[in-house]
Symmetry: D2
C-alpha cells in the first residue's frame, strides 16, 4: 500500500502541551511520526516544530487541510506538504553556468525532493545546455526599459509552470519588490559573499582589497531588502596572499555551488522555517 | 518557584504513537516540554528520543522513577537525569597537562552541566596545579605488578567521591575490562587520532610516516575493546609537508582539547545515547 | 613577445648554497623567477624545491633539457615542464558520473593547466555525455578473462593519445602493477574514504557501521600497492546519526569531486613532488 | 658550535634576479638557507620574501645590520631577527581570562618563539593568576579622565620591559593613535568577530539578531583605524537556531583563543609581513 508522508512546519506562541497535542492529533488519526524536531525560543516565547508522519489509514491524518485547520486552532502558523506532490522548481540563470550545472546534475542524481521543470534566462546562452538536461528553456531579455514588462512575462510563465520555488542560480538581475509580492512563492538566492560582510557587488574584489583570510557564500530567501533576506546556509573557504582575485572567484564558485544546493535541498525537504528575518533550519 | 528540569534518553523498538504517548504522559503530569528530539532508525526499527521538560507542578511529572517506570512499560530502555542533581566528574591524568587545564578552565567558566570533584593521577606532577583549581588530588601510582591493587584503590575512591563520570584526560594507562565493569559508570577517553585510522600508539608518528594531509582526534566511551568504544565526537586539522612530527603533536593537542571538551559537555547535558557500539548525539 | 614559463620540481641531498645556485643559474640565463618555494626535511637531509620562471631571453634559460642537466649535476632529481606544452589528460570512468562531470566542467571553465583529450570506459554509458563535452569516447570492456588484453589496448590508446596524466574518476577496475609500470605516467585515483581508515570496499557502509562522525575522501597516485599510493589531498565532512548510508554516499560524492579536482589542479600546475611514498605539495 | 639563525622579511619593487641576489649574498657569507618563500604580486609589481638561514661562519652572514644594508641597497624594506634574541611579549588583559590562560599555557608548553615577560591590566583581577604563571603583573587603571596619563605609564613600563610585541588578550580599552605611534612596536588584537562583518561592539548579539549560520574571530594588528588593521588570521564556527547568544559567546571564546594564538605564533616566527593594510603570511 502507498503511504503518503506529510511534513508540517509550525510556529507560534509557546504554551504547555503543544508537543503532546500535535503528536496526539496525528496518532489518533492513524499517523506514525517518523521525524519530529522542536525548538523553543525561550526569550521570544515562540515554539517551532517540524513534524513528519506516515498517514497509514488515510482520512484526516492524510489531509493537509485538516492538519492546517487543527494547527491554526492552536494559534500556530503552519505549512504542510505531502509526498503525494513534488514541488516544481524553476531556475533563473544569466551567464555563469556553474550553479546551474550543479543543480541540474544533483537533480538528475535524485538528490532533491522536487522537480526542475524549466529554466528562465535574460540571455540565450544556455538554451542548448538546458536542452541537454531535458529542461524547457525560456529566454526573457531584461533591460532597464523593459524590466516591468519582462517581470510580468516571468510571472505569467511561472504561473503556467505551476512553480512552487524559484532558484536564482547567479541570476544577475534584481527582482523588484512588486515581483516578489505578486509571485507569492519563495525565491532562493545565492549571494557570492559571507553576508553581512561585503554586501553589494564584486565581493571577491572587496575581499581581496581588504586582505581577508576567508571568503564565503550565503544562500538566502530573496526579499525586498536586497542582501537582507533570511539566511538559510553559509560556508567559507580559506585564502592566502598567494590567491589573486581570479583564485578567489574560482574558490567562490565552489562555495556558491555547494551552499546553494544545500539550501535548495533543505527547502525542498521542508526543513526551513522562516521566522521574522531569520530561519530555523531543522537539519 | 524552583522548577526542576528533567532530561530523559529513551530507545527501543519503534511503534506508532510513541511520541504522542511520551509527550502525553508528561503533559498530563504538569510537565512542559522545552526540547524534544526524536530519531527513527528505520532499517533497524529502533526509536530514539531525548526529551527535556520543566516539572511545573511536582508530583509524578517531577519524579525520575515514575517516568522510568512508564517508559519501561513501553518497552524502552531509559535514563533520566534531573537538574536537581549535578553529575560529579573525576578526571584521570598522567603527565600531559593540556586537556586537564582545558577542562578545568571550562568548568570554572561554567561551560559544563556538572562538577569537577577530584583529580586522580598515576604521577604526582599535577598535585599543585590541581590545588590551584581547588581540586583534591589523589596520587595512585600504577605499575604492571600493582595494577590490580591500584584499580581497586581507584574504584574505592570513585565510590567515596560519588563519581558519575570519569574523564581520561590523556591518562596513559589502559583500564582493565574488570575495572570498567565494576565501575558501572561511563568513562570518556580522548584518542589522539582519527579512529579507525592509526589506532594504537604514536599516531602522530604514524600519520607523518604515511604522509596524510589531515590529522584527527576522537572522543569515545571506553570499553573493554580498546579503541573500539562508541564514538562521541571527532575532528581533524590540516597538515602539510612543512609540518614535522612536533607540529603534528602541537596541532593534535588543540584537537584533543576541543574534541574532549565537546564530548564531555554533550554527555553532561544528557545528549549522548549509546546504542550498540554507536552513539546518537542529540546536539 | 611570448614569454614561456618553466616550472621545475627538484629534490635531492641537502647542501649549502642550493637556493643560490639554482636562482643564480636562472638569473644568469635571463630568467625571472616568479615563484619559488623550498622545503628542507632536516631529519632526512633532503632538499625540495619548486621554482617557476619566465624565460625572457630564450636560449638555455628557456630550455628544459639545459636546466635538467644543470640540476642533475647538483645531485638532484628533477622534472621540468614548460607553458609551451599543456599536459594531455585522459579520464577513466565506469558508471558513476559525478567526478567526470565535475572535471569536464572545470576544464571548460579553464580551471586546469591542461587539456582533457579523451575518455576511456569499461562501460558504454557515457558515450553521449562525453560527446556533449566534445571529448572522444573509447569503450574498452574489461572482464577477468580479458583484463590483460584490455590493458594492452588501453596502453596502446594512451600512447596514441600522447597522455601525460591518467585520472581515475571513480573507475571501478584495479589497474595492474604491470600496466602502471608500462604506462610510466602518473595516474591519480580518488579513494572514497579517509585513508588509511576504511581502505577496501564499501567505505560508507563501513563508516556507518562504525558510527564515525566524519567521513572523508583521499586523492592519491596509483601504485602497485592498492590504497597505499602517495596522498595528494584529503578532506572530510561531518555526519550524524540522522544520516543513513545514502546520505553518506551523497556527501561522499561532494567530497570525491572537490578532492579529486584539487589534486588534478595541483598536479597540472606542477605543484606535487613525489618523494618515497609521500608527497610535497607546493600550494 | 652554536649556529645562530637569521630570519629576514623583505619587500619592495619587483625586479629580475632578486632571489638570486639575496640567496647569493647569504651563500657567499657562509649562510645556509633552511627556508625561503617568495611571493610576487604581479599586479602591484611587488616582491615579498621570507628567508631563514643558519650563519655557519659568523661574520657578515650572522650580522642583521649587514643584511639590512644589503637589502636596503636593493630598494627593499627589510626586517631581520635573529635566534640569538627571543622577542619579549607583554600581554594586556581586562576581565575575560580565556585568551590569557591560553597564551600562558602555550608559552609554557614551548609553542611560541618568544617570552611572555609581563601582564598589564586595567583591573586587578588577574594579579594572582599571573603570579601562578610566574609573570609580573602591573595594574594600571584607566578612566576617561586618566587615559592619557595611564597610556604614558604603560609606555614607560613597556620601555623598561623592553617589549617587542604587545598582545591585547581581550583588553577592553581602545589604544589611542598617539599611543600606537609612540610605542612603535606591533600590537596584535583579537576582534571577536569575522571582520569586516559586525565591526563594533557586541558582535555575538549582532550575529544572533541577523541569524547568521557562522560566527568568526579575527586577529589583526592594531592601527589608528579601529577594526581596520591588517588581518593576520581568521576562523569561523557553525551555529544554528538552537544556539542562544550565550552559546555564541562560548563558541566565540574558543575561536578567539585559537585565532589569537595562531597569529601570535606566526608573528613571533617572523612569518607575517605587513604591506599596506594587508598581510603576507608565510606559513
Amino acid at each position: 500500500m502507498f503511504l503518503p508522508t506529510l511534513i508540517a512546519l509550525l510556529h507560534g506562541p509557546d504554551q504547555p502541551g503543544l508537543v503532546a497535542r500535535v503528536s496526539g492529533w496525528i496518532f489518533e488519526r492513524g499517523g506514525n511520526i517518523v521525524h519530529a524536531d522542536q525548538h523553543h525560543d525561550r526569550e521570544a516565547g515562540v515554539f517551532f516544530q517540524r513534524v513528519e508522519w506516515e498517514a497509514r489509514t488515510g482520512g484526516e491524518g492524510a489531509d493537509p487541510a485538516a492538519f492546517r485547520a487543527f494547527a491554526t486552532g492552536l494559534g500556530m502558523k503552519v505549512q504542510v506538504t505531502t509526498s503525494a506532490s513534488r514541488p516544481r522548481v524553476v531556475v533563473f540563470v544569466s551567464k555563469a553556468e556553474h550553479c546551474f550545472h550543479d543543480l541540474a546534475l544533483r537533480w538528475r542524481e535524485g538528490e532533491f525532493s522536487g522537480e526542475l521543470v524549466a529554466v528562465i534566462s535574460n540571455h540565450s546562452d544556455f538554451a542548448s545546455v538546458a536542452k541537454g538536461y531535458g529542461l524547457p528553456f525560456h529566454h526573457i531579455p531584461v533591460t532597464a526599459e523593459t524590466k516591468a514588462a519582462a517581470e510580468a512575462k516571468q510571472l505569467a510563465l511561472l504561473g503556467e509552470l505551476g512553480a512552487d520555488l524559484v532558484v536564482l542560480a547567479r541570476y544577475m538581475q534584481v527582482l523588484s519588490a512588486d515581483f516578489l509580492e505578486k509571485l507569492g512563492r519563495p525565491v532562493i538566492n545565492i549571494h557570492h559573499s559571507f553576508l553581512p560582510a561585503f554586501a553589494g557587488g564584486r565581493p571577491y574584489h572587496q575581499a581581496h582589497a581588504r586582505g581577508v583570510k576567508l571568503i564565503g557564500a550565503t544562500a538566502h530567501y530573496a526579499t525586498r531588502d536586497l542582501d537582507e533576506g533570511p539566511i538559510i546556509h553559509q560556508d567559507v573557504a580559506r585564502v592566502t596572499h598567494r590567491h589573486g582575485v581570479d583564485d578567489l572567484i574560482r574558490k567562490g564558485r565552489d562555495l556558491e555551488k555547494t551552499v546553494l544546493a544545500q539550501a535548495v535541498r533543505w527547502h525542498l525537504e521542508g526543513r526551513v522555517l522562516v521566522y521574522g528575518h531569520k530561519t530555523v533550519v531543522f537539519d
